[in-house]
Point group: C2
Amino acid sequence: MRPNAPGDWDRRKLLFAGAAATAASGLGAGRAYAAANAKGPPGSVLYDVPEDSTKVMGRGVHEDGGYGTRSQFETEVRVKADNPSDVTSWTFTPLASTIGNLTPSGLHFERHHGGIPVIDPARHELFLHGLVDVPKKFALADLKSLPSITRKYFIECSGNTLSEWSKPKGTSVQFTHGLLSTSEWTGVPFATLARAVGLKETSAWVLAEGGDAAVMTRSIPIEKMLSDALIVYGQNGEALRPEQGYPLRLVLPGYEGNTQIKWLRRLQVSDRPFMTREETSAYTDLMKDGRAKLYTLAMDAKSVITFPSGEMMLPKPGHYMIQGFAWTGRGRVQAVDISLDKGKTWLPARIDNVPEPMCTVRFSFPWHWDGGPVVLQSRCIDETGYVQPTRDQLIPLRGENAIYHYNAIQSWAIAADGSVKNVHV
Amino acid sequence: MRPNAPGDWDRRKLLFAGAAATAASGLGAGRAYAAANAKGPPGSVLYDVPEDSTKVMGRGVHEDGGYGTRSQFETEVRVKADNPSDVTSWTFTPLASTIGNLTPSGLHFERHHGGIPVIDPARHELFLHGLVDVPKKFALADLKSLPSITRKYFIECSGNTLSEWSKPKGTSVQFTHGLLSTSEWTGVPFATLARAVGLKETSAWVLAEGGDAAVMTRSIPIEKMLSDALIVYGQNGEALRPEQGYPLRLVLPGYEGNTQIKWLRRLQVSDRPFMTREETSAYTDLMKDGRAKLYTLAMDAKSVITFPSGEMMLPKPGHYMIQGFAWTGRGRVQAVDISLDKGKTWLPARIDNVPEPMCTVRFSFPWHWDGGPVVLQSRCIDETGYVQPTRDQLIPLRGENAIYHYNAIQSWAIAADGSVKNVHV
């Protein structure tokens, strides 16, 4: 691969290496130093940091084997839940450190019920059967040869913010709201497959089944499946990540994450819901009167301030840019409001990206902190006119027994010393 | 992190491990096998592939240390150019294997002139000076506290497709067009910084300088800087990757990649261009008459078919979905056409995503291959009305001396045996 004077090049490479070694030993102009926060991701190479990066030759292309990694200074990771099992567990996205609107695939939150399976894409098939004219198996190559759609959607676990039903338990925004991530998804509309097999007139629900050890199954209304459900094989420009269902996932824009079946292998059309374990014993909403609501599928409008947020410390009074995310499972975010007086008055935040359906938006709000105690709150208004509720509005309706679908306004209290804490007001 | 009966959990984990071992030894229901194409990225863990993934417990969360990686079956990488030096070299994005519209950050093409520097973000500053009222240094934290913009833009090296000026040299689309990538970028408009320092009335050009060993410098017209230039710190939801300029890069939507200075450390406002090395000796277009055009900055409309493309083999006659990318440095892609008869007639392709300014679009075109020899071509029409030229239109205008800004229509010849080859027609 290096036909031009390789011998000469080898000598030059040695010269470069020598310059770098001089720099690292502190003898040259490019004195290296150990950066305090350069820990690097697990297993990563730690490069010396030169005093002046223009005086030391950088590393060459392809030292990473052709698939790049983060800077050694970027060390935020998903953090796992405090669970006895790692195979039926979850990890939280570090929302306060993501930039822009996408979640890097390596930081997309996880929720598994039987661990992450290893599936060979060359052998994987999707079986579509039930109330159809001609049942069909689709190999991955079959799906990839059909017209595809690429869209940005958030996925939120319906258990996101479950720590907050009774007391302010989540210490940081990673733990209160980190079961939320946004990706660019690529796949085939279910409607395309439905045309290929022909739906019977009595079709009303579809069972989606995963190929993991939990054989996760959920029932989805046929209207949703036909309107915008995607059989997804792509995420952020490449194949789905293993934790997100490699090689195939059902994406249901705006629906609770659990219904968006990963490692998808089977779709069965029926005239009624299947009442599977995960939609009867779990993923239902226990109400005050002891009854449980089934099939609360679309996620309600919600928002959270990511800066400043729990466990942070504002160094001193002055100007800050409040930042956060807003989202809704019912179309586009219409507006985001900020309150600095515990909800008495609300001021409009700036929305930083053009709102797309069932996609997060970034918001920001320039703010001057005078050094006194203050509570920061945000609320999301979606295009249906729905306004994200306060705790005082949500709890009387829902009680405190529920696990899922908590979407009350989040409050962060700034103390006079600048520390930020999760509070319920 | 596992307060609930850790002893009990440890026992269960052993049981899982036992089940997996049984599976791997071929004794259990979940018989494992070695998948032919599971090579995995360099240094990655190779998991056994069970016969039935529902019969074996999957791996737990966080085994990757909290930052996920690709499936072991996904092995496409950037490939480096055939250069004697790895520090002034480039790598090509595998365009035929990316999915959707984004390029995964790990596969974004590279072009370095002095290697990839290691820069501590906590010490990095951007100095803005020259014809301004008040010169200013901006720390990274200063920039992050300003209102940000998040947009998807392609970046194309002006040397992309340089192999094609005289003969069809690129064997695959990775080598002919792989100096093209698309990301979601987040940063601060230059216009915001300009307001902070106050531009003098005579301001006409801005020098941008990088902090690499090449101290890369380019001159940019002030109109471009004020209209849509971004000082970028985010890429695809996280910090810029080291190869893309960590911690700071100038993004100039639609301009040749070389001007979008990486490791950005200085911006100097002037009343004239600086005539730097990289805009006089290099990155100019040598014309037929021996004169060189300077400052051909916006990339012209272009497109390429990625499937089928060079080095591929169609297994048999039948239905295929032609796929590819189109882009323009002058606004939005208006349309993409396909020709199956060497340009005599053109048919409209389907555009798979909503065109955004200075962003790639995916196109597709359902096609039946009858088994005979055929040439596949695509052309891009942008919103200015410009039509991507044929070679016969481009070469008389530009000659064959040039290196940069080749944007003629690409032709792939399908032979009767299904093999695909780069040809000039």
